[in-house]
C-alpha cells in the first residue's frame, strides 16, 4: 500500500505538487491521472526518494523509500525507459541492478524472458526501439519480484499491440495481489486499465474514486435530446435548472440526469425521439475537469454543455 500525506514539491517558484494526499491499495491497478505538467512524474520521483518533498511524506507499506532494505525487492518502478546507458547491453543493465539488491543472476534471464527480450539480451540498449526500451524498463521493475509497482506513462509511444500487452500485464500483476500504480494523461486509456483512479490537476488532488464513478461523473453531464415538441420541453428543463444548448437536430442538456429528463417529458406530454447520454466526450470532459482544477465545480457543467456532441474520445 502506498500512502501520500500532504505531499508538496516546489521547484523555485513553481509549485509542482500541492498538498497531495491519497492512498493506493494492493491487489488493484490504480491509475494516476492528470494532464501534462500536473505533477505525476514529480510525485512518483518523490515516492522513490529521488526528489525530496518540500513538505509532506509518502510511504510504501508504512516505510519511507530510503528505509527499505534492498528496495528493488519491494518496489519496482519504470519512470523513464531512457534511463539506461546506451552502450550497455540489456543483460548488463539488469545484472548490476540485480547485484545491488542481492537478487539471483538467474532472475535476470527470467525477467528478460517475461518481457520477451531474451533474444536481444546482449545487444546495446541504445539500439532498442521505444517499445523494446519500455520492455527493458519493465524487466527492471520486475527484477526483485516486488509487491509494489510504479509505472509512469508506460504506454507512451507504443503501438496498439504493445499497449494491449502492457494493459493485460498490469492487470495480471494486480491479480497476483500486487499494488500497481500507473500514470497516464489519457482517461480513455485508464478507463480500460485501472479499477481505481487518483486524479490530479496542477499538482492538486481532484478526486480519488473508482474508475467507474469517475467516468460516470465525467460523462453523465450531458444528454442529447431529440423531440418534435422541444418548445414545450425546454421551459420545463429551464425550471429544474438544467443547462440547455440547441444543436442542429435537438438539445444538449447538462446538469440533469437522463431519467429526470424522461420524467419531465412524461409530465409535459412530450414525445421523445432520442434520449442519449453522451459517452463520446470522455476525454473532453476530463480535460475540463482537470484543465482548471480550482474552478472545476463551477464550470464543468456549463462547459460540458457547450461542447459539440458526439466527438469521439481521443485514444492513443
Amino acid at each position: 500500500m502506498i500512502e501520500a500525506q500532504s505531499l508538496t514539491k516546489r521547484y523555485g517558484d513553481k509549485l509542482a505538487v500541492d498538498d497531495l494526499s491519497f492512498t493506493v491499495e494492493s491487489g488493484r491497478v490504480t491509475g494516476f491521472l492528470g494532464p501534462n505538467g500536473a505533477g505525476k512524474s514529480t510525485t512518483m520521483r518523490m515516492m522513490l526518494g529521488l526528489d525530496n518533498p518540500t513538505s509532506g511524506t509518502v510511504t510504501i507499506g508504512g516505510k519511507r523509500y530510503a528505509e527499505l532494505h534492498h528496495p528493488l525487492r519491494t518496489v519496482g518502478a519504470l519512470l523513464d525507459a531512457r534511463w539506461v546507458h546506451p552502450n550497455r547491453s540489456a543483460r548488463a543493465h539488469l545484472s548490476w541492478m540485480a547485484k545491488s539488491n542481492k537478487i539471483s543472476p538467474k532472475r535476470v534471464d527470467e525477467v528478460l524472458d517475461i518481457v520477451g527480450l531474451s533474444e536481444v539480451a546482449s545487444k546495446r540498449a541504445g539500439g532498442f526501439s521505444l517499445g523494446m526500451s519500455q520492455r527493458l524498463g519493465i524487466a527492471g521493475a520486475l527484477l526483485g519480484d516486488p509487491e509494489v509497482l510504479l509505472f509512469d506513462e508506460p504506454v507512451n509511444g507504443l503501438d496498439p499491440e504493445g499497449i494491449l500487452w502492457i494493459r493485460k500485464f498490469m492487470q495480471r500483476l494486480a491479480d497476483e495481489g500486487r499494488t500497481v500504480f500507473v500514470s497516464s494523461h489519457l482517461l480513455s486509456e485508464m478507463a480500460l486499465t485501472a479499477t481505481d483512479l487518483v486524479v490530479i490537476g496542477k499538482g492538486k488532488l481532484i478526486s480519488q474514486s473508482t474508475t467507474e464513478e469517475f467516468v460516470a461523473r465525467a460523462t453523465d453531464s450531458t444528454v442529447k435530446v431529440r423531440s418534435p415538441h422541444l418548445d414545450r420541453l425546454r421551459p420545463a428543463l429551464d425550471r429544474v435548472g438544467a443547462t440547455v444548448t440547441t444543436t442542429d437536430d435537438g438539445l444538449l442538456v447538462a446538469g440533469v440526469a437522463g431519467e429526470k429528463i424522461g420524467e419531465l417529458a412524461m409530465e409535459n406530454q412530450v414525445t421523445l425521439h432520442e434520449l442519449a447520454p453522451q459517452q463520446g466526450s470522455l476525454e473532453q470532459a476530463f480535460m475540463q475537469i482537470t484543465g482548471d482544477s480550482v474552478e472545476y465545480h463551477a464550470d464543468l457543467e456549463t462547459e460540458a454543455a457547450e461542447q459539440p456532441a458526439g466527438h469521439a474520445a481521443v485514444t492513443n
Binding site: R45, L48, G49, L50, D51, N52, Y65, A66, L68, P71, L72, A77, L79, D80, R82, W83, V84, H85, P86, N87, R88, S89, A92, S95, W96, M97, K99, S100, N101, K102, G140
Partner: protein, 253 residues
C-alpha cells in the same frame, strides 16, 4: 563489497573506460619513446625522464573518472542507481573506490610500460630502480592517478554535465595552477600549496630520480616531503569527495 561489484559491472560494461585506458597508455608510451630515444650523452635517459609524460596519462584518467559519474547523470542511470541503493553516500563512495582502483591499475601499467620501453630503447642507460626516489617516481604514478581520479570524480558529481566538468578539471590541472605563479608577489607562495603541484612533489621528489635534477621532469616547488605531499593531496581528494557526496545527498537526483 556488493556495491563495489555493482560499480565495477557498471564501469566495465561500457566502452569509454577501455578507450580512455588505451589512450592514456598510447599517449604516455608514445611520448616517453620520443623523449628517451632523443637522449644523448648531454641529456642522458634517467628514471625521471621515463615518466616525463605521466601527467598526460593522468589527465586522460581524470577524464575517465569524470565521465564515470557524468554519464550517469547524462543518461539518467544515476536515478536507477539511487533507486537501487537509496544510501547515496554508500553508492557514490563505492563508485569513487572502484574508479580509484581502476585509475591505480592504469597508472601503474602506464608507468611501468613507459619505464620498460625506455630500458629497451636505451639499454645502456642507467634506468635501474635502485633508490626509494626511483621507485616512487615510477610506482608512485599509480597512487597519484588514483587520488587525482577521486578529485575528478568529485568535480563530476558537483557539476553533473560531462563537458563542463571535464573542461573544469582539465583547465585547472593543465593551466590554472601554473597561471597562479603569475600573480606578482604572492603567486609563487600560493602555488607551493596548490594540490597538483604538491602531488607532483610526491612523484618527483627533489629530483633524485633524475640524476641531479637536470635530466628529468621539471620539479615541484612544494616544500613538503614526498610522503607528506601524498598525504596532503589525499586529504584534498577526500575533502572534495565529501563535499560532493554531501551535495548529492541533499539535492534532487
Amino acid at each position: 563489497m556488493t556495491l563495489l561489484a555493482v560499480e565495477r559491472i557498471k564501469l566495465l560494461s561500457t566502452r569509454s573506460p577501455w578507450w580512455c585506458a588505451l589512450t592514456a597508455l598510447v599517449l604516455t608510451g608514445g611520448f616517453t619513446a620520443l623523449v628517451v630515444s632523443q637522449s644523448n650523452a648531454q641529456f642522458p635517459a634517467t628514471v625521471s625522464a621515463t615518466q616525463y609524460a605521466y601527467s598526460f596519462g593522468m589527465a586522460v584518467i581524470m577524464v575517465l573518472a569524470t565521465l564515470a559519474v557524468t554519464t550517469e547523470y547524462r543518461f539518467g542511470t544515476i536515478r536507477t542507481t539511487f533507486q537501487a541503493v537509496p544510501n547515496r553516500a554508500a553508492a557514490l563512495a563505492a563508485k569513487a573506490t572502484v574508479v580509484a582502483l581502476i585509475a591505480l591499475v592504469i597508472g601503474e601499467i602506464m608507468a611501468f610500460l613507459s619505464w620498460g620501453m625506455a630500458t629497451l630503447i636505451q639499454p645502456e642507460a642507467d634506468l635501474a630502480l635502485n633508490s626509494t626516489a626511483d621507485w616512487i617516481n615510477v610506482a608512485g604514478v599509480g597512487p597519484a592517478c588514483a587520488l587525482a581520479a577521486v578529485v575528478a570524480m568529485a568535480v563530476g558529481i558537483l557539476v553533473r554535465h560531462s563537458a563542463g566538468a571535464i573542461s573544469l578539471v582539465l583547465i585547472y590541472f593543465l593551466a590554472a595552477e601554473n597561471l597562479v605563479t603569475l600573480i606578482p608577489g604572492i603567486g609563487a607562495d600560493i602555488f607551493k600549496w596548490l594540490p597538483f603541484n604538491v602531488l607532483h612533489k610526491f612523484v618527483t621528489g627533489d629530483g633524485e630520480s633524475a640524476g641531479g635534477a637536470t635530466y628529468g621532469q621539471p620539479l615541484s616547488t612544494s616544500t613538503l616531503s614526498p610522503w607528506w605531499a601524498l598525504a596532503y593531496f589525499a586529504g584534498f581528494a577526500v575533502v572534495l569527495l565529501a563535499i560532493a557526496i554531501t551535495t548529492a545527498r541533499k539535492r534532487d537526483a
